[in-house]
């Protein structure tokens, strides 16, 4: 179980005064404090953990965010920023003495500039909302986390979100030009702008993925790209995970970087097929979904090369989509993978380590052995091109023993990822979920240095303080009761 810091008694004691201060800042309905209305905010995508906050505020402008932070700074109140609450690592999990700052009312698209290929949006605009806004004009915003229908760009910046297409287009950090950041002291700073590579320290790069611990992002300037002429997928199924891994190596070695290269293992194929009836081969040990882009002739050329490569590895089946509809059918199972696993198991934990792709067969073998040891099923779906692994560990949340086993199993998988040269998290963030594993990847001196950088932004450790860094050594707790 993950420990949360003790609430500050002096903050709990001043609750009414703090609420009155917040109400004076925010418009009608902008402060939520009734227990029943706090319910929806007590958890996020890591729903095993719940904690109602002191209050939730829903600001509508950067100035309101700044005023709330000034008040919280003056009162010593911890704050937890929140977008859509889709974090799978508990990044938006509240604390009992914290004010949750929900950015969902800041949901305006402020500007789209096609000539300069950028959009300026508020933090509460959804990821897909950006693409939907510009798609009629042939443009898109590239990072596409699976939660893109709901998740918000402010949260994407906080977590440096990735997606299925980042092998070609990069993650959030690679697609930003600027942010408006409110510091814990309530100062509003513009970082970056409408241009590339601002001279000076790369604050934009440091803030992206800092999990809301350095400031609150209220506005984001993103790059938008012109969509390719078209895209099409193929499916290749193999007799073994090792063989599929070799096929991935051969594809990359051929000079083709597919726009997406997804890997599913046998349990995942079965779960998805039962759910989506996508026509996945049930006798395969591993399956790849490969997508290419360009004109129809270019797609044919690339898919032809890919088919030839896959054929060298004795595939059980190869299916090249002939139409956009067939392509969607191939993706249907993969896109529904989390839902499909949810159908066969009451609950699951979605892990997120990254490994060197060459270690895939070994890691999958070890995960299989651990699955037998823990007595918990696991399905693996994997961004094969970049080594980002998503094992889905199935358990029953009504059985505390099952949940604890699932957590231990997950921790063992992440330790294995680090052991083979990878990392704890590729795109979901550390949050609370992986916080206590940070010592597996970093030395105490490295963690101390990162903590000191956070302190440079937030000396009193009020911004999302229980996340990312193990509580031992966390300056936020030095004065806890």
């Amino acid at each position: 179980m993950i420990r949360l810091p003790d609430p500050k008694p002096e903050v709990l004691a001043r609750r009414e005064a703090i609420l009155a201060g917040l109400r004076a800042i925010l418009p009608e309905g902008g402060v939520i404090s009734e227990p029943l209305r706090l319910k929806p905010y007590e958890t996020d995508g890591l729903s095993a953990y719940r904690q109602p906050p002191l209050a939730v505020v829903l600001p509508t402008s950067t100035e309101e965010v700044a005023a709330v932070l000034r008040l919280c700074q003056a009162e010593g109140v911890r704050v937890v920023p929140r977008g859509a609450g889709t974090s799978l690592s508990g990044g938006a999990l509240p604390l009992a003495d914290a004010v949750v700052i929900g950015l969902m009312r800041m949901n305006r698209i402020l500007e789209v500039d096609y000539a300069n290929r950028l959009a300026v949006v508020e933090a509460g605009v959804t990821n897909l909302g950006i693409t939907n806004h510009v798609s009629a004009d042939g443009f898109f915003y590239a990072p596409d986390p699976s939660s893109q229908l709901a998740c918000m760009i402010g949260g994407n910046v906080g977590m440096n979100s990735g997606g299925a297409h980042c092998l070609k287009y990069g993650v959030t950090a690679n697609n930003l030009l600027g942010v408006k950041l409110v510091t814990m002291a309530g100062e509003v700073v513009e970082i970056g702008g409408r241009h590339l590579d601002a001279a000076g320290y790369d604050w934009l790069g440091l803030i992206t993925g800092s999990e809301g611990q350095l400031g609150i992002v209220t506005e984001v300037t993103v790059r938008i790209l012109r969509s390719p002429e078209g895209q099409r997928a193929m499916l290749a199924a193999f007799r073994g995970t090792e063989i599929a891994g070799q096929a991935v190596d051969a594809i990359i070695g051929s000079g083709i970087i597919p726009v997406a290269l997804e890997f599913m293992d046998r349990p995942c194929i079965h779960a998805c097929e039962a759910f989506a009836h996508a026509g996945y081969p049930l006798d395969a040990e591993a399956m790849l979904i490969i997508e290419v882009e360009g004109s129809v002739a270019e797609q044919d050329m690339l898919l032809g090369k890919l088919k030839e490569i896959c054929n060298r590895f004795d595939p059980i089946s190869l299916k090249v989509a002939q139409t956009a509809e067939e392509s969607l059918a191939i993706w249907k199972g993969r896109k529904g993978a989390f839902g499909a696993v949810g159908r066969i198991s009451p609950d699951y934990l979605c892990m997120d380590g990254t490994i060197p792709t060459g270690e895939l067969p070994f890691v999958l073998k070890r995960i299989g052995e651990m699955s037998a040891q823990y007595g918990l099923q696991v399905a693996n779906v994997f961004h094969a091109g970049d080594g980002n692994l998503h094992p889905l560990i199935m358990f029953d949340a009504n059985d505390p023993a099952s949940f604890h086993k699932a957590e231990s199993f997950g921790a063992d998988i992440l330790k294995l990822c680090v052991e083979v040269g990878g990392c704890l998290t590729g795109e979901h963030g550390v949050g609370v979920e992986k916080r206590d594993l940070m010592g597996v990847q970093f030395t105490e001196a490295e963690l101390a240095q990162q903590r000191a950088i956070k302190s440079a932004f937030d000396p009193a450790w009020l911004l999302n303080p229980a996340k990312v860094f193990p509580l031992d050594g966390n300056p936020a707790l030095q004065r806890a009761a």
Partner: protein, 394 residues
């Protein structure tokens, strides 16, 4: 002179040297090959810490698109290793030895510390986008790591990005892991004759707004790249079939703007090598050179406002290279032009007196400058790493 150069043979020795310098309060000038000594402000340091002893590729997995090398590794050694597997550095970093009048080749550490990217920046990302992992020594002499050797990693604060482009002021990079990619099978360039800068940027925007995956887009002054008149040039890099197809489509779509030419293979490569090194700018030895970054549409306005007769626009118009008299007045004009356009500038090359006298980078807002000073104090409390390199007194 040789007494003042520290040349550790490995990371442990380097860390010990930095720790000793910190204890003694001895400022260090951090140096790879020294090819960009003329960049930004002159460093006032008692000793030079050379990275030349830390050289060599430590890991290369072509199938994993990952290469690690020690910071002092010369660029050609890395490029040759990649070329053996048909791969390349995505950001197409320039060496700029001709511009600075220095002897090459630059080192990997220097390229990362300066975060300099070439024409492919607009499609493939900057150097900073491909630094997947670092090992470094902070100003206290402590070795630390950030990132790793995988392509996707959000574990902890991204100090790879913080140190990339920090010009050695926050830590001494000792080893760097980069994402690399397969190089293109073919390349071709569409050149469109344009009347002026504004029309040129329109052509570049039209190309970059097309679905053909333009990998680089620059605006050459008359005579630049060996072409007559002012030319908007747009590059395609891909499999040969794609380059042929997309080149034809792009030529057809841009033909309405002006006379169109098509350069292939070696001619295309030579043109972009020149753009990467800012050669078409034609900066004379005595002139100052500025590098301004703005939204592409602002490029022509910056050129006009800065009043520099020599300009080269890259990155679709957003990277403005300017050359002109090395005077404080001209520098003030460039600063004002960049600020008015909402962009950023670097006094890239100038005589030492000018570089020491003026702000070579834009000032940060006070709140951010205060945070920056605290971050610098965390990483380099004794203030011994490249003091004054980026800003006076820091």
């Amino acid at each position: 002179m040789s007494d003042s150069v520290l040349a550790p043979a490995d990371e442990a020795e380097l860390a010990a040297s930095v720790a000793a310098a910190a204890a003694a309060g001895t400022p260090l000038a951090i140096e790879g090959a020294g090819t960009k000594r003329g960049l930004l402000r002159p460093v006032q340091a008692a000793r030079t810490l050379s990275l030349r002893g830390l050289s060599g590729i430590t890991l290369y997995k072509p199938q994993e698109l990952i290469l690690s090398a020690r910071a002092g590794t010369p660029l050609p050694e890395i490029e040759a290793a990649l070329a053996e597997h048909g791969q390349h550095l995505i950001a197409e970093p320039p060496s700029l030895t001709a511009l600075f009048g220095t002897e090459g080749p630059p080192t990997l550490g220097g390229l990362v510390a300066t975060n300099l990217s070439g024409p492919r920046r607009i499609s493939g990302g900057a150097m900073r986008d491909h630094v997947m992992g670092i090992r470094a020594v902070n100003g206290k002499g402590e070795v630390f790591r950030s990132g790793g050797r995988v392509l996707k990693n959000v574990t902890g604060l991204d100090l790879c990005k913080l140190l990339t482009g920090a010009h050695g002021t926050l830590g001494v990079l000792t080893e760097i892991t980069l994402k690399v990619l397969p190089g293109p099978e073919a390349t071709g360039t569409v050149a469109v004759a344009v009347a002026d800068l504004a029309q040129g940027v329109q052509v570049l925007s039209a190309g970059l707004g097309s679905p053909y995956g333009v990998s680089a887009a620059a605006l050459l002054p008359a005579g630049g790249g060996g072409l007559a008149g002012m030319q908007a040039v747009l590059r395609l890099e891909d499999f040969a079939e794609s380059v042929a197809y997309r080149g034809a489509r792009l030529r057809a779509e841009l033909a309405g703007f002006g006379a169109v030419q098509w350069l292939e293979g070696a001619a295309s490569r030579a043109l972009w090598d020149a753009v990467r090194e800012a050669a078409p700018l034609g900066a004379e030895p005595g002139e100052a050179v500025w590098r301004v970054s703005v939204a592409p549409g602002e490029g022509p306005g910056v050129v006009a406002a800065a009043g520099c007769p020599k300009a080269l626009l890259d990155w679709g118009g957003g990277l403005v290279w300017l050359a002109g008299p090395a005077t404080e007045a001209r520098h003030a004009a460039v600063m004002a032009a960049a600020a008015a356009a909402g962009g950023s500038f670097t006094l890239f090359r100038a005589p030492e007196a000018l570089r020491a006298a003026v702000a070579v980078l834009p000032a940060e807002p006070p709140a951010l400058a205060a945070i920056g000073a605290r971050v610098k104090a965390v990483m380099d409390p004794a203030g011994i790493l490249n003091p004054g390199r980026m800003r006076a007194g820091l």
